[in-house]
């Protein structure tokens, strides 16, 4: 008739995890949110730097500091039509600079005032970039047969931005 030992200990634990009415509003919750926003700023700054480097190299006609051997071959990727905005001669990296700048701005705004519309907007912004990154990854792997490490770094940062923005929806 006695209750299992596990059940005796589990119930209090569950109760302990349940959010109190005011939880999420206190200092602990605030610090968590700030960390995610800080992460958004950091990821945005890094992706802006990488995008700017790719953009400058594109217009200057220089050579990227990257591997060009085997499956990793920046030249093959960055000289393909997938490196340009469709039907234009505008490098996608330039779009990356603008996207990153907006993401950084969103992160800073989150740290300062965090208006209600910001979280879904940032998630949508990151989601759109993630979808485009998946399209470019497909082009790299399935069409070009090569990947570029700078592009991959950007894709990882975009994914990180997406998950950070997602975490702020909680």
């Amino acid at each position: 008739m006695s209750r299992p030992a596990g059940a005796q200990t589990e119930a209090p634990q569950r109760r302990g995890r349940a959010p109190a009415p005011s939880e999420g509003l206190g200092p602990e919750r605030g610090r968590n949110l700030d960390r995610a926003a800080l992460g958004l700023v950091g990821a945005g700054v890094l992706s802006a730097l990488i995008s700017a480097y790719l953009t400058v190299t594109h217009y200057a006609g220089g050579t990227l500091a990257c591997v060009n051997a085997g499956f990793v071959d920046c030249d093959a990727v960055t000289t393909s039509s997938y490196s340009l905005v469709p039907f234009t001669e505008i490098p996608i990296a330039l779009v990356g600079v603008l996207w990153s700048a907006a993401s950084v701005a969103g992160g800073v705004l989150a740290l300062r005032s965090d208006p209600a519309w910001l979280r879904p907007a940032h998630l949508a912004w990151a989601g759109a970039a993630l979808a485009f990154a998946l399209y470019l990854i497909n082009a790299e792997i399935a069409v070009i047969g090569r990947i570029c490490e700078w592009c991959t770094a950007l894709h990882v940062l975009i994914a990180a931005t997406f998950f950070l923005a997602l975490s702020r929806m909680r």
């Binding site: 999420g24 509003l25 919750r29 605030g30 949110l33 071959d73 093959a76 000289t79 393909s80 039509s81 997938y82 300062r112 005032s113 965090d114 208006p115 209600a116 993630l130 998946l134 990854i137 497909n138 082009a139 790299e140 792997i141 399935a142 069409v143 070009i144 047969g145 090569r146 994914a159 997406f162 998950f163 997602l166 929806m169 909680r170």
Partner: protein, 287 residues
């Protein structure tokens, strides 16, 4: 003091907004979904599935060429109607050829010498050869042209193309010397002749391929258009699209061919006139 109180007020305002948002979220019932693992797992699953699909599609078997396919493809590519060349013009391409200061190079017959240096494994050679074949077919005829694909392990893997190995070319206007230096696996299969080597060394200091010399007066290094327009297509599909000026493929392949044609016309004294005076070739001269 006032700065400190301002800061305190700002923090209070921020906390109030958060409080309101949290209450709104809780009231709207969204919190259960957003707090659970579903969004994370779902997003991660989509990312993994998309990348997995890309990897899976990249492993499609290389297209296999047959003599029967060559019998259909080669006549199609070597008899592109003149109006297709005319309608495409430059295809929006900038001139992919560079003028040199060298004297005109002539072959043993005294005709302007066109040299092509490439390799079967090379994907950029693969794309370039579609234009080279289409352009040269306007001045003469190929024999023994076979189908091939670029390397399966290089960029733009298995790009359908031709091989010049074992092929020959005759023309009233020009002489053509073409070589595939390596096979699909990158194994050396031929050495350049002294004439090819001299032109290659003079005009291509980086020693890259494909290399195309129009009597050494114009050279093209690399593909004149981007090879990805050929991706996912078989030879006959490429040959068919080359005849449709509205396609990006035709603009790339035929636009490049028009530039090559114009450079050759510059060395043949504008002969044959039906080719060199055509609107497609003249379109390049206007650039």
């Amino acid at each position: 003091m006032s700065r400190a109180s301002d800061r305190t007020a700002a923090v209070a305002r921020r906390d109030r907004r958060r409080s309101e948002r949290e209450q709104h979220v809780r009231r709207s019932g969204r919190s259960g979904f957003w707090r659970g693992p579903v969004p994370y797992v779902g997003a991660a699953a989509i990312i993994v599935a998309a990348i997995g699909w890309s990897v899976w599609s990249s492993r499609a078997p290389a297209p296999s060429a047959s003599a029967a396919a060559a019998d259909a493809v080669v006549p199609s590519v070597t008899t592109i109607p003149a109006d297709v060349f005319d309608r495409v013009g430059t295809g929006g391409l900038a001139n992919p050829l560079r003028a040199t200061a060298f004297e005109m190079q002539r072959g043993a017959s005294g005709k302007p010498l066109v040299i092509y240096v490439g390799a079967e494994y090379c994907p950029y050679c693969a794309s370039e050869k579609w234009s080279v074949v289409a352009a040269l077919a306007r001045f003469g005829t190929f024999q023994g042209l076979a189908l091939s694909t670029s390397s399966s392990t290089d960029a733009f893997p298995d790009t359908p193309t031709f091989t010049f190995r074992g092929a020959s070319y005759r023309s009233e206007w020009i002489e053509v010397s073409m070589i595939e230096t390596a096979d699909r696996q990158g194994r050396i299969i031929a050495q350049m002749t002294p004439v090819q080597r001299a032109a290659y060394d003079r005009s291509d200091p980086d020693q890259s391929i494909p290399f195309l010399s129009i009597a050494e007066r114009h050279v093209q290094i690399g593909s004149g258009y981007r090879p990805e327009v050929l991706a996912g297509r078989m030879w006959m599909q490429i040959a068919d699209q080359m005849r449709d000026p509205s396609t990006p493929l035709a603009r790339g392949v035929i636009g490049n061919a028009n530039w090559i044609t114009a450079a050759i016309c510059g060395q043949t004294g504008g002969q044959p006139s039906n080719v060199c005076d055509s609107p497609g070739v003249r379109a390049t001269q206007a650039k």
